[in-house]
Structures are given as structure tokens and as C-alpha cells.
Symmetry: C2
Subunit: 407 residues, 2 copies
């Protein structure tokens, strides 16, 4: 008998019928003898419906009241799910974030969890109840309702698992695990049995949107065993673990990619201290997030400076950079918003030499030109032309043997 925290997202509870399916899954876990705590999101579409009403009133709705509004979404789900369990003869009890004392800071719409009082939950579990907690929400020290921002239900589940020292935190979603890469791009993509937290962080931040980054960080920090599973298909899913030595021994675990990139270069900037700050300062002030940054110094005392931004920010960044170029007496600004980023991710990379050259060769063999390169301890990223995305990912997937099942 184990203590399991489960989390079901918006699509998994999108209709009354789907909520009843979730009830059946919880009953199955109870029948296996487990104690079960579950965090749920709002029914899909519900949050958008609420936000739309808020935006009819104001372009920038008051954040405190915004949280009061959108937190009703999960409250509907917890009540319906508890009813469904009771209707099937299983005792259950729903709790809003406030009721279960999920204490957060007061940063409305993007609050962070500070503490959870697990006493009520334990008492209910001792009585054999399924405990149902509204994801995504909490309250601050003054009793104001707060929300954790999009995807916050994952964080709620992980925080509950940490507070309760649960044996496993199971994130039910519409995919049946973490894949070596996106199966829509590479049909041979394979579900991973396990992946490390670090790899998962790199995969998530690179656009493999299975889990929210913050929940993964949180799980790593509190040693919570995370598992990603499908709400619709039975299967073991993918375990996200902090035990590297238990990992598959492949150098590369997966290939992530991101289509939403754009690249900007300022050429011939007189090289002097503070040049990077001068270039990126005004970009940052405009709230544009910068991803990759590369700087090369040339022979003539000038430097070329390249960075990538989200494609939506491309035009805005280009305008800013043109101004900066004038101020800095730079030669020219060029940009490209038809690029993508592909990344190899794997903790095995640390101990395997030659991964980078193997990667570059695989791309060269397909005639794909590399436009930027950036590396970290467990990741190598390249920027290539958008048109080569599929070819590049497939070539790498095969070159690193990701389509071959592991023991």
C-alpha cells in the first residue's frame, strides 16, 4: 500500500463523462490498496470562458479579483469529482486551495506555494477518503485567493506529494509519457521508461510541453518521484527520477525542438566593455525574453552579436536593435524568423565524448547548414533553417539510436 498523489489536467476532466472516468481511475487505485490524493484542473474551456468575461470588463483586470474569478474553475471540478466518487459508494472530500491551506505568496496570478498544512488531508486519508484538491490555487497570509498561473495544477500536485511525502506523484495528461521526440515529427519516436529531472527540465523548456517547468523543479527540490501517464490509455507512462545511476545508459535521452524561434544579429559593433549589456538591456526592458546568445570577436576590433527570441517578439526586437545599432555605431542589423532550434538532451552526454561532432556530422550528411550552436552540460542545441526541421530531427533520432528499444 502506497500513498499516491494524482493530477488530472483540463482535457482529462473536460466533460462530466470524463470526470466520471477519472473517478473510475481513482477507484482502481483505491482497490489496489493505495491512499489517494488528487489535484485537478478546471474543465477545459472553463478558464478561457471566465477570462473572456474579465476581458469584457477590463483589458487589465485587477489581479486579486482575477484570481477570485478563475479559481472557481477548479472548484467546479473538485465538487463534481467528489460527487462522482460518492455516487459510486466511495467516500471522498473536496478542498479548495484555501480550505486545505495551500499558503502562497501574494503574487496574484503567478503565486508561489510556501507551505501546505497536510493535517486535514491525513485525517481524511485515515478515514479511507479520497482527498480531492483544487489545483492551481491557494491563499496568501491575509486569506486572499491566489492562483499559481497556467499549469499550476502540476505544481499543486507536486507540492502535495512533497508535503505528504507521497510514494509517487502521477501526472495524468493526454499523452502516455515522455517520448524521445515528438511522434508527430518522427513516427518511430519511443516512449521513455525513465528520464532524469535535469533532462526533463531541458526537454520541457525546449518545448516538450508535457509538464510545467516549475513543477519539475519543485519535484527535484523535494525528491518527489514524478510519473507522466495518459488519462485515456492504460500504461506505465514515464518515470521522472533524480537517480541518475538507474538510468538507461544511452548518451542521449531525447531530442527537443522549438519552432517558435527567431534570430537577430547586430554586425560590426565596436568592441568595448559593456557592449552585451548595451545590446540586451533595451531588449530586456521591453520584456522580451532572450534564449540563445552568441558573441564572436572579429579581427577589426568589432564584434558580431547574435541572439534568439520568441518569434512573436521578432519585429519588436528588430526595431529596438536598429535603434541600438545607431547608438553603438554598429554596421548592420540582420535577422531571420524562419529558423528552428533542435536540441539533444541527455545526462549521459557528460561522460560521452564526441556527441557534438556526431551530431554535426549527422546534420552535414543531410546537407543541413548549422546557423548557431549552443551547449550546456546535458544539452547541445543548434539553430537551423525551418525547412530542415523534420529532416534534422529524424536524422538525429536515427543517428543516436533512439528508435531502437532499450532493455
Amino acid at each position: 500500500m502506497a500513498l499516491i498523489v494524482q493530477k488530472y489536467g483540463g482535457t482529462s476532466v473536460g466533460t462530466v463523462e470524463k470526470i466520471e472516468n477519472v473517478a473510475e481511475r481513482l477507484i482502481a487505485a483505491k482497490k489496489e490498496g493505495h491512499d489517494v490524493v488528487v489535484a485537478v484542473s478546471a474543465m477545459s474551456g472553463e478558464t478561457n470562458r471566465l477570462v473572456e468575461m474579465a476581458h469584457q470588463i477590463s483589458d487589465k483586470p485587477d489581479p486579486r479579483e482575477y484570481d477570485v474569478l478563475v479559481s472557481t474553475g477548479e472548484q467546479v471540478t473538485i465538487a463534481l469529482l467528489a460527487m462522482a466518487l460518492k455516487q459510486r459508494g466511495y467516500d471522498a472530500r473536496s478542498y479548495t486551495g484555501s480550505q486545505v491551506h495551500i499558503l502562497t505568496d501574494s503574487a496574484h496570478t503567478k503565486a508561489r506555494i510556501l507551505d501546505i498544512d497536510e493535517a486535514n488531508i491525513r485525517a481524511d486519508l485515515d478515514k479511507g477518503r479520497v482527498v480531492i484538491v483544487a489545483g492551481f490555487q491557494g491563499k496568501d497570509e491575509h486569506g486572499n485567493i491566489t492562483t499559481l498561473g497556467r499549469g499550476g495544477s502540476d505544481t499543486t500536485a507536486v507540492a502535495l506529494a512533497a508535503a505528504l511525502k507521497a510514494d509517487e506523484c502521477q501526472i495524468y495528461t493526454d499523452v502516455d509519457g515522455v517520448y524521445t521526440t515528438d511522434p508527430r515529427v518522427v513516427p518511430d519516436a519511443r516512449r521513455l521508461e525513465k528520464i532524469t529531472f535535469e533532462e526533463m527540465l531541458e526537454m520541457a523548456s525546449l518545448g516538450s510541453k508535457v509538464l510545467q517547468i516549475r513543477s519539475v523543479e519543485f519535484a527535484g527540490k523535494y525528491n518527489v518521484k514524478l510519473r507522466v501517464l495518459s488519462s485515456f490509455v492504460d500504461g506505465p507512462g514515464t518515470l521522472i527520477t533524480f537517480e541518475e545511476d538507474n538510468m538507461e545508459q544511452a548518451a542521449i535521452s531525447g531530442i527537443a525542438f522549438n519552432r517558435d524561434e527567431a534570430k537577430l544579429t547586430i554586425l560590426g559593433v565596436p568592441d568595448q566593455p559593456g557592449v552585451a549589456y548595451n545590446i540586451l538591456g533595451s531588449i530586456g526592458e521591453a520584456n522580451i525574453e532572450v534564449d540563445m546568445i552568441i558573441q564572436n570577436v572579429g579581427d577589426d576590433g568589432t564584434t558580431d552579436f547574435t541572439f534568439t527570441v520568441h518569434r512573436n517578439d521578432y519585429q519588436h526586437a528588430l526595431d529596438i536593435l536598429n535603434n541600438t545599432a545607431k547608438e553603438l555605431n554598429a554596421r548592420e542589423v540582420v535577422g531571420d524568423n524562419a529558423i528552428v532550434k533542435i536540441s539533444l538532451v541527455g545526462v549521459g552526454m557528460r561522460s560521452h565524448a564526441g556527441i557534438a561532432s556526431q551530431m554535426f556530422k549527422a546534420l552535414a550528411d543531410e546537407g543541413i547548414n548549422i546557423r548557431m550552436i549552443s551547449t550546456s552540460e546535458i544539452k547541445i542545441s543548434v539553430v537551423i533553417d525551418e525547412k530542415y526541421l523534420e529532416l534534422g530531427v529524424r536524422a538525429l533520432h536515427s543517428a543516436f539510436g533512439l528508435d531502437e528499444p532499450k532493455d
Copy 2:
């Protein structure tokens, strides 16, 4: 400068636009220099939408979870209304029933308010804020969300007014006051400037559904000055008061009627102690509410016993009564579900003799046969054939001078 509690029902906040209209009304009250606390209902249709989902899961949804579910309706309204005020530059703060510590008993779906902690509200008022409270809901001593049952938002407003010792509790609705009778039946029906609590109770229980009975009782108990006004039309509305001596001096304040009545008679019951209990006991056990009761004893040692029930319960009551008739050796059971009840209501009745005979004459002059009569201290009710409803109400309205404006 006064402290005013306002209450807006579901139709008054039925759309985002209407919520914005309510914001404008609150701002108008602020501009007049008043402190304003407002209780609001769920947007019309919202509660039904939620209840429908619950009924997809269970014919009899768990009451605790039912309250968790439906209480989201008002929570949406308070947030949107607070946003609308903030958007217009007025400080406001929303509170759920739990947040403002509306303490109730644990009778889910029909809880009663025990206490309100007004400290937070006073602090907000001192800061110049409009305080917005979710109607219809509270929490019990264990922190469970409770609801007060349909119409509970009126009760919330009155309870807030009582706790805060407000100068007036204004109930905004879709009618502009309490009328001498239903204007759809009598076009000359006149809005009353004032009505006593007792009269209001009789009017409400007889089907003039302007205010919930419980909120009127509550207001009377705590000496809260209640006023009924329209959300859509400006006007003074009707003041509901406990000061009889300030009242208009007419004997009759209004005419209430109820179309949903049915009448059953058991004839020739051998008269013996306990006969009334024998007849009504089984009706009560079937959860059928009985309204009027009349018993006449004849010369032959038998009695005739007549009572009225809601028309929906007619067939069920008839079946039960036929069984009872056999057990009691009664002669016959007869019934009629094409009847209505008309009542004259007025505290002035106490000091005016002859109201009853005046009433019976007015009906006789129109050839209307009276089928049952029942009287209380401030009310005379008659049951007549359904087809005479309009004729009867108009005749009485005119006979008692209700269509003539008062000074």
C-alpha cells in the same frame, strides 16, 4: 452619509453588461457619500448550469459537494463586479462567504446564518472601499462551504445589514417595489410606499415572490430597514418597516393570490378523537405540505374534512386519502385541482371590523362562489374556482380602494 447594504439578484447581474450597470449604481451611492456593502447572486442561468452537471452525475448529489459546486456562481459575480469598479477607478474588494466569515450551521443546501465577523468589512469601508460579498453562501465551523438555499442572497444582505447595523438594506430586483397585487392581473395595481413586515410575510408566503420569506423574518428579528427597488428603473421602491403607526391607514395593503392550489375533501368520517391526525399524518409522511385546513362536524356523528395542497402533489395526496378513507370508514373522497386562493392582507384589518363581510359581498356581487374560507389576524383567504381568479382579484382591488393613490 449612511451605511447601505445593497443586494442584486441573478437577473440584475445576468450579463457582464448588467454587472457593469450595477457598478454604476454602486458608484452613484458612493458619490452620494454613502458607505456601500453589496451582496450579489450568481449570474442568472449559472446556478442551473452547475446543477445540471451535478444531476448528470447523480440524482441526489452529495450535499456538501453540491454546495462547493454551486457556490462558485456567486464567486464569479463578486470578482467581475469588483473588476468593474476598479476599472472605473473605485476601490473595491470581493469576499466569498468563507472569506468574510459568514458562519452557518452545517445543514448543507439550506444552512442558516449564525454569525458574521464584520471586522474585515469595517476596515475596508474605512479605507473607502466598496465591499462585495457573495450572497447565498457561508461556511460552517469546520470550514466546509455551505449554501443558504434558493433566494439565500436576500438573507445574506439582511444578515450583513444586521451585523453592520446598516441604515438600510436595499434589495434590487426586476420589479420596482411591492404592489397592491400582481399588475399582470390588475393593471391598476399600485406600488406601495411602505408595507409592514407582517404584511410582507403574508404577501410573500402567498406567492408574491418579491422577497424570500426567511430574509423578511430575519430583517424583522434584527430591526433591519428593508427596501425593495428595481435594478433597471430608478425610483424609491417599497420600504418594509416594523413601525406600524407610520403606515398608510388603509385596512388592506394588498391582495395576494396563489394559482398552485388543489383541494381535497374526505366526507362522512366517523367523528372521534384523533381523526385529524389520522387524515393528515400519512399526508405529512409523504412530505406533502398542507396549506389550509377546514373541518366541519355534521349532525350525524360524522365530520367533513377539507385541506389544500400544492397542485403538483394533488394526485399523490388523493391516492393517500383514498386509502385513509377506507381505513376510517369514511363515505367518500372528493377533490378539485382547478381552484385558486385569494387573500386580503393588511395590518389595518386588526382594527377594522367588517372586512370579511365586505370581501364576501364584493365576490358575491360578481357571482363568485366561495369554496373555502380561512382567516388569520392580518389576512383573510378564500378559495374560489380558478376561472374566477382575475375577476375576483379585480373586484376586491377596487372594492377596497387599492387603485386609488394614497397621500
